[in-house]
Symmetry: C2
Subunit: 370 residues, 2 copies
């Protein structure tokens, strides 16, 4: 095997497949990149058995062939090579050589006969959306998936595509994060996939922020495959029926508060300086006509801070885990938020008129201070 | 006690004294900042028994007094306060309140009767130098101090001021790093201080990069005190006689090589991709008339890379710990270096004509490959 490509391209493509190389494993082949050079061009594969990635490397094939090469080592070498053309050669004993300017590397490779390729997904029925939209959806919901493996389904987020509407939902038993948008190209029927939070974070890293770039998504019963530029990212879905979130959400409210996102966030961040790690001390919000009082009291000290608000409906005194509030407030783009409350034992909702985001957070009990 | 000052000033000054607050300690008072407000203004003190810091906070004292306050908590609160005036008040029970805009914090303080103030240093005989020079000296030598406590003296660097010359030396038994410069204001007599590497890193953080700013240094038998703007940083010196480095350094050589710093550094960094952590594999330099070959061979693979050089004297084949070379190459400002060799068992020297830097590195044995 022999191919030639630019160092920057080689480095970028190695970085992409590295997302599907596990840090630790008992099966050594999983830590290898499989390289295939032939009529279909130069292709890199990696597979950690949950996620598989195939990516195409721009370059010139001079001799067809294949090899499996240790991913971490290959990646660190490729990163330090000069910014110039790299010639990769593999001999009959799978000895790999890399030549770039006056630098010459020799590394032992493997045949890769024991390499498992990522599963093939039927690529006839695609859903197309903007990469930036999917990337934002992940950042705006993934913090709400559960980190507790006891309930597998909660460790994933639900991606739903229904005609021209696309949504992502994550929940962990204490809160729900939901994002919704209209697709430019409607699809027929409904597609649903529960994708693990860890996988979503990896997928996010290969998605582009550029507004025009698109991703094609292919769904099967067990798999979803994301086609991004010359890369296929294929993941095994979490099996099961997701929660019916519509049952958990109510539009009724007794109190509506409008507040500046930044001021609210900073007030909570100030209050959090008084909580030790792992300390479940709630912050208390006292909402009145013109202002909200943010209060906290712990063994370390106490704080209160006033934030100007606009309130409709009843006054309310309600306690929250401050982290759940900051997680949501940090990912909302609006400067002015509307937050809806029913009573101190019922969840609050942060949502906008267009209904393209909704964050539900359960309150926590607190003993009234003072 | 009551004083008023700007949040930014309060935050900056708290950050300075925090350098002398230990992360862990059995004496809880060491984790407190002692605040004194009175005729001498607002002063913050911290002391970890090795280093003591006193800093002046710009602001208005409305009522004299003092208090000791938990450093980490105070710092994290001050950081999140609005960018505006902060009023700090302490009552007779050492209860501290902070008021800033509509935010109000209450924290329990202590009398600080058990607080140990940093030792006083006689401030009559100062050495004055540029902060940027001292800051650079630290960065350019401190990596060469030993991290092994078995030889206490090696864990520090020697700062020497002799008439109009100032130098800093660090060594660990395998290498020497030395920097020298002329002072603008000569002093009488010789001043020497062995300062721990850990202390130097803390001191570096409070020194400014700005060319005009100066530091005054006061020396006693046991202490050195650095006066930086409104801050005194006082440290206990390492006791003992430092090594006579002039005995270890030789001007003789058999080979002189001139090489581009960047090309040499990149070549070594490439070679280092083949060494595992803790792997003491040497890199081998084969120096000939027009070029140097950098070679390495390990269980992971092998590399060779050619770098253009200008050589005077004999050809040489010599092995080094690559980290010792990169540590030195990263902190030298010159683009073109002169490196001097005697034989494969003798140290090499990287130094310039003006003699204001010298890096000595011992070679390591290697089995010749090929």
């Amino acid at each position: 095997m022999k191919f030639i490509c630019a160092q920057q391209e080689l480095n970028a493509r190695t970085g992409v497949v590295l997302k599907a190389v596990p840090a630790k494993t008992t099966m050594s082949i999983l830590q290898y990149i499989y390289i295939d050079a032939g009529e279909e061009g130069i292709r890199f594969f990696a597979n950690d058995m949950e996620n598989g990635i195939e990516t195409k490397v721009e370059g010139t094939v001079e001799e067809a062939g294949y090899v499996a090469i240790e991913a971490a080592l290959f990646s660190s070498i490729v990163r330090t090579l000069p910014d110039n053309e790299v010639t990769v050669t593999v001999d009959d004993n799978y000895l790999v050589t890399l030549d770039c300017e006056s630098t010459h590397f020799t590394l032992p490779g493997r045949s890769g006969d024991d390499f498992t390729f990522p599963p093939e997904v039927d690529k006839t029925d695609a859903v197309t959306m903007r990469q930036a939209t999917l990337k934002n959806f992940i950042a705006q919901t993934v913090f709400s998936v559960s980190t507790n493996d006891a309930n597998r389904i909660m460790t994933g987020a639900l991606l739903t595509i229904e005609e021209n509407e696309c949504s992502m939902i994550a929940l962990d038993g204490h809160r729900i994060a939901m994002r919704k948008t209209e697709l430019q190209s409607p699809v027929s029927g409904t597609k649903k996939a529960i994708i693990s939070g860890k996988t979503l974070l990896k997928l996010r890293d290969i998605l582009s922020d550029q507004a025009e770039k698109e991703v094609q998504i292919y769904f099967t019963q067990k798999l979803a495959s994301f086609s991004v530029s010359d890369t296929f990212f294929t993941t095994r879905l979490i099996d099961g029926e997701y929660f019916d979130v519509s049952q958990m959400i109510s539009g009724d409210y007794e109190t509506k508060m409008q507040v500046g996102r930044r001021q609210f966030l900073e007030g909570i961040e100030r209050a959090m300086t008084l909580s030790h790690d792992g300390d479940k001390k709630p912050i208390i919000l006292g909402i009145q006509d013109q202002e909200m009082e943010i209060k906290v009291s712990s063994t370390r000290g106490s704080m209160n801070s006033l934030v100007m608000v606009k309130k409709d409906g009843k006054d309310i005194l309600i306690g929250f885990n401050p982290k759940f509030l900051t997680d949501a407030l940090r990912v909302i783009e609006d400067d002015e938020l509307s937050i809806y409350f029913v009573n101190p034992k019922a969840p609050c909702y942060i949502r906008n008129e267009e209904n393209n985001y909704l964050y539900m957070i359960l309150p926590i009990n607190f003993k009234t201070v003072e």
